[in-house]
Each structure stands twice: as C-alpha cells, then as structure tokens.
Amino acid sequence: MDLKGQSFSWCVGGAQGSGVDSAANLFARACAFGGFHVFGNREYYSNIIGEHSYFEVRISDEPVLGHTSSVDLLTTFDAETPFLHLDQISEGGALLYDASLVDVPLEKLPTIEPRAKQDLAKMFDEHGLPHTLDAIIQLARQRNISLHAIPYEDVLKADDALGQLPFSTLKRMVNTMSVAASFALIGYDFSYFHKALEAIFQSKPKVVEMNAKAAQLAFDYTKKEMGEPTLPQLKPLEVNEPRVYINGNQAVGLGKLAGGCSVQTYYPISPATDESTFLEQHQSFDVEQGDDGSILVLQTGDEIAAICSAIGAALTGARAATSTSSPGFSLMAEGLGWAGINETPVVVTLYQRGGPSTGLPTRSEQADTQFALNIGHGEFPRIVLASGDLEEAFYDAIRIFNYAEKYQTPAIHLLDKALANFGKTFSYFDLSKVEIERGALLKDSQLTAGADFNRFSFQENGISPRSVLGQPGGRTWYSGDEHLEDGHMSEDPINRDRMMEKRAQKLVVALEEIPTEDQYTLHGPSDAETTLVSYGSPKGALLEAIQRLNSSGHAVNYLQARLLSPFPAQAFTEILSKSKLKIGIEANFSGQFSQWVQQHTCVKMEHLVVKYNGRPITVDEVEAAVLNILSGNAPQKVVLRHGI
C-alpha cells in the first residue's frame, strides 16, 4: 500500500472518558515531532462518560487540508469501535483490536444506537455470522484488511512490575498502548512517541513512566506479531521551523488576544466553551511594552446577559466579545439589534452546531447561516465573516474587531463545531501580517470636556466619530429607540429615514474598503466550467477535492465566501455568470448559503450538495458528489451521508 497523495489516516475510537482524546493527542504530537503535518477531526457524543467517541488524525509531509471518509489504520481498545468503524477502513488498511474482546456480543453494547444495532444484526444474519465482535473480524478479513489483535490486559499482566497493578490502573493505559502499537504498525521512530508522552504529561513523571513501560510492551508485542508490514512505513521528516498543533477554539482565542479583545463574556455551551476556558487560562499575558496584557473573562448568568454585558463593555471602548454556539446565539437576537441601532462594535463568535433546538450539541452543521444573517427583528447593519480553516479563524478573529470598530456595528464571526474541534499543525502565526484598526474612535484630545457631542452625527459614509462612556467631551445617550444625532429618542419620520440610511451606508462603505481577498476567493482554475460555491468549514475538503478533480481532468473551481454580510453580490454575479454549472456545497439541509447567493444575485445554483447528519464533509464526499453531478445522473440535491 502507498501513502495516498502523501497522506495517512489514522483513527482511534472508544468510550468517552476512556482516553480517546489522549491517545489522539499522543499520536498527533508524535507525528508532529517527527515533522509531519497533522490534521485532526474529533467526534463525540453529548455525554461525559461512556458514549462512543473517536478521533481521526491525518498526516502528510505537506499541510493537510481536511479529512477523508476512510481511514488507513483503525486503532481500538474497546469492542464498540470495530463494530461502528469497520466500513470506514480503507482498501489495504488495517485494524488493531483487543484480542480479548472477540466474543463480546453486539447486544451487550448498550451505547450502540438502536438503528445501528439492528442494521449490524441484520447484516450478520445475512452473512451467517455470530452477533459478536468476531463477526467484524471475519468481515474485515474478507475485505483483506490486515488484522492486528493485541490482548492488552494479557500483555500487561505478563509484565512483572505492571502485572501487579490493579486492573483499573491497567485499564487506564490501554489507550497509550494502542498508540504505541499503531506506531509499530507504521514503523515509526518510537522516540517521538516518548517525546510526545513527556510533553503531554510533563507534570506527572509517574504517569509518564508507567505509560512508557506499557507502551513499550505494546510496541514490542505488535512488532513481534505483525508480520510483514502492510501499512506505509513512515520516516520522520526534517522541520526547520517551530510548529504548533492547535484546534479552532484555540486559534480563535489566540486571535482574540492578539486582536486586543479585553473583555470576553460567555455562558458555557459546547462547542464554544473551550475558547473561553483558553482565555481564562491566559487572562494575563505578556505584551511588547508595559505589563497590561490582560483580558477579563466574565461568566454570565445566561447568553442574554453575555451579549448585553459585552455590549456594555464595548461602549467603554474596550474590545469586547462573546462566544457561543447555536442555542446561545438564539438568545442574543435582541441584544444584537440594540448594538445595531446603537452602532456598537461588539463581536459574537458563533460556533454553529447541529440543530435545530438542542439538536446534536456536539456535532457540526452550518445551519445557522441565514439565521445569523437575519437575526434580530428589524433591520440593522452587521458584519458576518466566515472562516474556512483554522488559519483564517485566527486572522479573522483579529480582523473582525477591526471591522466591528471601523463600521461601528455588531460583527459575527461565523464558525462551526467542525472548525472548533479540527486540529492542525501550523508554523507560528505572523502578527506582522495584521493591523489593529480602531476606526473613528476619538482620542480624549479630539474632544472638548463639557462640550456637546453628537455621537450619531450624520456623515456621508455613515460613520460617526465615536466617543466612549466616561470620556470627557463625548457625552452621549444611547437608546434602543430610534434616535437623533445626540442619541435622544425620536419618532420623527424624516430623522428616522436619515438614520436608517446612515446606518445602512456603513455596509456600502465596508464592501468598498474590505480587501477583496478577505471577501471571497476563487480557488482553482478561474475559467473552469463548474464552480463549487461554499463558505466555512468545508473549505479543506473542497480544496483537496478540486485538486483531485482537476488532476483527473475535470475543470472545477471553488468560490469561497468569507464576507457574508455585507455580501459582495456584484462580484459573485460576475464570477458565477462565467460558470456553466454552479454547485452549492454546505453542511445543512436546505442550502442556506446558496439561497443567500440567489437572493442577492438571482443566479441559480443548479445543484446543491448538502450534509446534515452532523459530521463534517470529507474530501472524498465532495469528489464523489461532483463526479456524480458531472456524470449527469445526480438529483438536483445531493445528500452526503458519510459519518459515524
């Protein structure tokens, strides 16, 4: 077997709380230490302990953009994972499993979903197989998947020292062992594993020691038992630059710190909370001059308070944000409208998750698109900026404060659970690429203490110089009611019209000023006959898919939107008019972003490719869907259904 396109996909699964995340972390770091680029995708239930979770790690000698539907090595240490993930193992791939579990009956696994259980049972019956894990092994064998059984407990028990330990302690090490065994299978330099182990458990030398021992046993056992390697044998690469492995929550958190966000409010909600926790951990940080690097993180009583407190803070001149996910965002509708009419630069970081309602709290979806674009009664300008990958997420987290302040309007940074939990290796971020632009924020010296001030003065570009609360000479009244230039309430119809027009004008200006490359990007051949239209987290999958498609002779490009509001309608109209076949691709049911494009351009997307099972779109899915559409046999709406 070959390293397809230089990439190798590994997956570990298991019950929540049983060490899946640590295993993945270990694997990813060890790969990164060895110079590989790493991309991770994390899947888990809305549950603390016991339900099935898994982590896919894809590595390559080039930056990895997305994840694939299949995995080359499925690493397991429980019975459930092989049942659920068998189908995912690639042609020529491998399965690592706990030899002691082969007799575990399907019916005894309470966390397998009833539908999955039924389907599996039916399939076993059709193949005349027992309802045990052994059936999976047999099916894998039929598919020529190379099988690696490792009796974790026996291996440990066989060790003089470790064998003495209680079973509960031993059990906590099988995850580490599974990683070690994985490395044996891909012939990786084991010293990187040790480096990773130490890095992760720095403060717990005993843990390191014990796990290292157990890992060595698993590594040796596997080496001994595996026979000829069937998987690609990975050789470490040279790295000449420092790299980090970070996920989306961290990327955004870092961006906020860099962007000068000094107040973050939040109410806990998956998958947004980790960003706030990251900020709490870094509430004090080093700055170039002086010692005032700090951020106030305020846990509020609910999301209504979160948005309102963030606005209150923004009025004082602090860069203020709140971070939430879909249900929390629903509660911010009214607050956002207030910020809109009061021209307040407040940032909302929105991690969309599977909806509607509580929905699929730990799964991903892009189903709040139209909601974010239309949230709040009445009409007010808003910036909606969507990142497609973690690098964009970082830089956008800085930029969005600039936009919010320059156009004095609420700004939504649109992300999703996929991005929050995707992880990726990066070179160190380069802050010289970004600027802090505070727009028409007045300095004390530009104001006269005690004098009258019109916070909402009419200006041609709609942007009024802004004072902040407590500033001498900038005295202002803010009101959610329609108001005069000084902020006092007014129901005068003529003033009303002017204020509406003033506020709307800001977005016209924003569209002129924001660099095109921050508005949208046309990836791939600009003259391709087929154009994929999308925004947000599918970016990685789309980029790699169009590479594949173009390599295989299909001229396909990909129009990625970043700035959803104000929307570059004219540019989209022009680009799309050049294309023969427009395909909207997004992770929701109704193709919300495509509808947004249609509403503004009246250019029809001939096909929609959508996914709404809560699992992020993979490279393979995009490729297959586009080929299917190009073949002319696809329905108008193609639904992607990969996912476990």
């Binding site: 110079g35 106030l296 800085i398 001498p472």
Partner: protein, 322 residues
Amino acid sequence: MAFNVADYKTSVHNNWCPGCGDFGILNAIQMSLMDMQLDPERVTVFSGVGCSSKTPHYINTYGVHTLHGRVLPFATGGKLANPEMTVLAVGGDGDGLGIGAGHFVATGRLNLDITYIMFNNGVYGLTKGQASPTLHLGQQTKSLPNPNIIHEINPLILALSSGYTFIARGYAYDVAQLKALIRQGIEHPGLSFIDILQPCPTYNNINTRDWFGGADRKGEDGKAMPRVYKLDPNLYDPLISAETTDEEIHQKIAAFFAKATEWGDQIPSGVLLQNLTQSTYEERVIESLPKYKKNPPAKRQIESDNKPVLKINTILDELRVA
C-alpha cells in the same frame, strides 16, 4: 469646578404624565449627583425600557437606555470594563423583577460596585398599566379586566437572597430622603439596591400618592397619617460589618425580614441593610488578575503603531509540537 444641579439636567422634553412619581426620583438622582459633585462625564446612567427607563435622557451624564429587563447586564459590562466610572442602573419594577428577574438575581451574586434604583409603581406603565410583579395578589388596578391572580414579589427580600449588600427603600415624594439614600447607595462599596415606591397616577389607582400619604387615614388631629414612615436609626441598625457576630447577623436578618414584609398601614423607608463584609467583584478580579486594577479593559493599550502588542510566541511555545 463646582457643578450645580442644572449641570445634571438635559433640555430634552420630559414626557412623563403630569404628577408621575418619576419626577421626584429624577430630581433626587440629579441632586445626589450634585451633592457628591460627580463629574457628569464620569457617570453613566443605564436603564431598561419603560416609562422610568426614559430617565437617562433627562440626566446630563452619559446615558444608556438599553433593552427591557437588561439594564443590569449592560451596566455590568460597562462597569467592569471601566471601573472608574460611577454607574447607576435605573428602571421599572416590571423591567427589574418581571422580564429582568434572572439578571436581578445573577447580578446580586456579583456584588459589583453599582447602584440600582428601581421605580416601583406596581404596573407596567409604558404598556398601559398591566399588573407588574409588585402588584399585590387580588388587586385590580384601572386597566385590569380582572383582579391580579399572580402573587407579588417582595423586592427587598429578593435583593437580600440575591446578595445585594446595600438595600434601601425610598418614596418618590420624599426627595430629601431619596437623595440621601441614593448618595449612600453610590458611596456603598458594592451592589446597592434602592426600591422606590413610585405612584403612577395614570394606571395605579390603588397605591396612589394619597394612599401612601394616608389621606384616607386621618388621625385624631384630622391630619393624614402617612403609610410610609422612616426607619428609626435608634431602633433599627442595618449595618453588618466585620465586627458583627453570626448571632447578630441572624438577628439582623430577622429584623430585616420583619421590616421588609411590613405593608399596608406601615411601610418602612430608609436603609434596610448594609453589609460591608463582602468583597466586591472588582476586588475578586484583582485577586486573580492584579493587572486589572491599573489597566482595566477600557484603558488597556492593545496596539502600538497599529500593531498588536501581544507577545504571541510565549503562548505558542506552550502549544509547540515541533
């Protein structure tokens, strides 16, 4: 530079109903600010939505007229970002105890240094007189088609349970007392709550100025015997300080409770509780984030020549993998 009371007034036309209790409260706020000689530009008055919440437009400080029920979270964000500002929060009983009840409780827990002044008129004034959370069970004011079937809430007791460390009651027509109470509230280091009995002549025809003033209760001398009376400092000591013993605290709470539940013919006013033993939120922040004291969020420098000042590599090093 001395500020006079006119410095706290705007020229905006006040459109409250003639005789509305809100006027007295407005005056008292303005007078207390003057009394304290607070620079109007260093003060922000936040409000919710309702008749009473129009107040900021009439006060010549910074004013933030927010959303119905949301005055406290807005004020919280403003105060924490710029703790040097004097922050008042004002609004109606519907605003604070109806739609805003959740924030009323949550903010109590913070004990941050703001003063919350509630205009308590028993009705939702601006929406034309529906029962507010303080209207007593069974009462039927002018615009109700049926008697109120929802039990009233006692704002003072709710404030106590929520953690407010200064709790007082005033009366809209006793501007002198009110002025003093508001000043004490502002000077109190922590979250102050002032419940103000505010006649709404338009919709509340039960708890009227006459009723509070006892016009229906003539004493032997033929004079009205007001229902609202002032707590006697010799008989009622609202202070809880570091010296107060647990035993005394229990007694004080019981006394508070007794006073707070008085209603009908005897309605106490004055300071009902002042607890100096609780740290403020600002102090607690400083404990874990000492930088906050000198450089609160509104004052932090975030750029230098338009470049971010964060030393990002320090953090990246923590996350380094190669």
